[in-house]
């Protein structure tokens, strides 16, 4: 990514978070990655008073202990400053209804985490490659 985009990763499983980060890095993405374990903390950072200096890209897990990922998605897309920020849902759920719901709520990409680690790692590396060419709008 040409712009100094900050990647916000909302993922309660630290192991997954670490593996995602490692594999994104292996794809050559060097952007700052901010990791949040809980939805509450992430929302505080995202919709807090402080204006964001850089454009944001959000990696979102749907199964969070404190709040549902779809609620977070809904709030992001309803926020004046954040609604253009791309949201990539990265989760284990492959329920059709859930997928439809996320796209209805304005999610940009929905990715199911593969169980096979090799496939998972490959997918994340490709996501990293995808992120490196993706255009992200400036913050408002």
């Amino acid at each position: 990514m040409a712009e100094p985009v900050t990647i916000i990763m909302i993922e309660d499983d630290t192991g997954h978070a670490r593996l995602i980060e490692k594999n994104i890095r292996r794809a050559g993405v060097t952007n700052e990655i901010k990791h949040f374990d809980y939805g509450g903390a992430a929302m505080e950072f995202l919709v807090g008073n402080k204006a964001h200096a850089t454009p944001l890209l959000i990696l979102l897990d749907l199964n969070l202990p404190d709040m549902s990922g779809t609620d977070i998605l809904e709030k992001i897309k309803a926020d004046d400053r954040l609604h253009r920020a791309p949201v990539i849902v990265l989760t284990t759920t492959d329920d059709k209804v859930e997928i439809q719901r996320c796209y209805d709520l304005g999610c940009n990409v929905y990715i199911t985490k593969p169980v096979e680690y090799e496939t998972f790692a490959a997918a994340i590396r490709q996501l990293g490659l995808f992120l490196s060419v993706m255009q992200v709008p400036d913050p408002e």
Binding site: D13, H16, K22, N63, T92, D95, V97, E116, F120
Partner: protein, 495 residues
């Protein structure tokens, strides 16, 4: 049923009583009728008797009148009534004779009546003969003797007595008739009252019975409605419980997957690090062997890859199991669609896809005529695939496999059986074979112990049952039973 029985008995009894009363009344009426008709014939006879008696008397008087006229005038013309009486008298006596058989009074008095009448007539005849012979005085002497009057009085007395007796008999009969008629009236009234009472009672019973029936019907409807509601509630409960289990299985398998991804992920990371460390060690061993610790070569070359290998195979197995559960729960969540399925064609298709393998073992597979049913095609296909695959898989090494699929329908149910001559299932394993991850017999075939667990879950989902009969070393028969038309539950199963 008890109410019905006693009511039927009561109604039948009352109707029988009614008919008995009617029959008794009819018989009584017949009797009264016969009595009155016999009385009528009596009165007719009485009338004839009186006429004959009166005729007799008048004939006697006519004869006397004729005799007197002839005696006074000597004119033969006056003898005309006498001449008529000569023929009339025997006629009336003959009539009375014929009537005497039925009339006791007449019978006892008839000889005397005949004698008196004959005496009277012979007196007249004698007197006429005297006059004709010119012996007028002798005739007058006989007349003056009063013999004629005595006989005439005698005749009158007998006829009067007979007439009186007849009148008494008639009035007696009339009184009898009146009495029996008033009896008949009374009996008719009584019969009418009885019939009305019986009809009212029967009607009352029938009405009460009908009312009871209506009430029972109403109660039955209420109970039925209640039953339907209970069945609906139970069904909803079962559907809900089933959905909960499906959701539970889904969540569990999902949540188990997340740590597994980590284990597998970091195992890969470890493996990569291990390889790197290995390369580092090789360099070190070449350049500075004295720095290498004695246990390092074994640890790096054997222990590390071995540990990682075990972690990998274990996680791979765990992954397969979790996937199996996930698959089962996913199949359970799949929305079923009912369609008409030609079972013969479907099973023949499955058999054909396995024929190559069975032919290679020198065996046979035959598919009989199977009843069609309305069901979810994918689920039923998976059920038969699994069962036929099992039949061709768990064979007895001592003989060629023979698999037979048959079916029949009974009312709204359809039955299918898959029979093989394979190695069979031990009785203690009959239930186990249907359990998830459980297998029976010699573990010489690949598999996770999923097939029959899946089959049973799918059969249940289609509202059917599966049962197994088997003898170790002889063969196994699985029997499936379904309703010929799949009833889809109203609730959706998206958890």
């Amino acid at each position: 049923m008890a109410i019905l029985g006693t009511t039927r008995q009561k109604v039948v009894g009352l109707l029988a009583a009614g008919f008995a009363v009617l029959i008794a009344n009819a018989m009584f009426s017949l009797w009264v009728g016969s009595r009155s008709s016999s009385f009528t014939s009596h009165t007719v006879i009485d009338q004839a008797l009186k006429t004959s008696l009166a005729g007799l008397l008048s004939a006697a008087q006519d004869a006397e009148t004729g005799q007197r006229g002839f005696l006074i005038t000597g004119d033969e013309q006056y003898l005309e009534p006498y001449q008529a009486a000569l023929t009339d008298m025997p006629k009336y006596l003959g009539q009375l004779e014929s009537m005497s058989a039925q009339n006791e009074h007449l019978r006892t008095r008839l000889p005397r009546l005949r004698e008196v009448a004959d005496r009277r007539m012979s007196l007249v005849t004698n007197s006429v003969a005297f006059v004709r012979a010119g012996n007028r005085d002798k005739a007058l002497t006989q007349l003056n003797s009063g013999l004629g009057k005595t006989t005439m009085d005698e005749l009158r007395a007998i006829t009067a007595e007979l007439t009186a007796l007849q009148d008494a008999m008639i009035s007696q009969g009339l009184a009898n008739l009146n009495r029996s008629e008033s009896w008949a009236r009374f009996i008719n009234l009584a019969t009418l009252a009885l019939i009305v009472a019986l009809a009212a009672t029967t009607g009352g019973i029938v009405l009460r019975f009908v009312r009871e029936l209506e009430e029972a019907q109403g109660e039955l409807q209420t109970v039925n409605a209640g039953l339907e509601r209970i069945v609906d509630e139970r069904t909803a409960d079962i559907v809900r419980a089933n959905e909960e289990i499906q959701r539970f299985a889904y969540i569990v398998s999902h949540d188990l997957r997340a740590p597994l991804v980590n284990i597998m992920g970091f195992t890969s990371e470890l493996e990569a690090i291990g390889k790197m460390v290995g390369r580092q060690y090789e360099t070190l061993a070449q350049r500075a062997p004295d720095l290498v610790l004695p246990e390092t070569p074994e640890a790096v070359r054997d222990d590390l890859p071995e540990a990682i290998g075990f972690i990998r195979t274990s996680t791979a197995k765990m992954d397969r199991l979790i996937n199996a559960i996930l698959g089962l729960s996913r199949e359970g969540r799949r929305v079923l669609t009912a369609a008409n399925v030609d079972m013969s064609a479907l099973v023949s298709g499955i058999a054909d896809s396995m024929r190559h393998q069975i032919d290679a073992a020198g065996g046979t597979i035959t598919v009989g005529k199977l009843p069609a049913m309305i069901t979810d095609k994918l689920a039923i296909e998976q059920i038969f695939s699994n069962l036929i695959e099992n039949a061709s898989k768990y064979t007895d090494p001592g003989r060629a496999p023979h698999i037979k699929v048959e079916g029949h329908s009974e009312g709204i149910q359809v039955f299918y059986s898959i029979a093989d001559n394979g190695r069979g299932i031990d009785e203690k394993d009959m239930e186990r074979v249907f359990e998830l991850f459980r297998r029976a017999g010699k573990q010489d075939q690949p598999g996770e112990g999923l097939g029959l667990a899946f089959v049973r879950a799918a059969v249940r989902r289609l509202g059917g049952t599966i049962s197994v009969k088997s003898e170790l070393g002889k063969g196994t028969t699985f029997t499936l039973r379904f309703a010929s038309k799949l009833q889809l539950s109203r609730s959706k199963t998206n958890g």
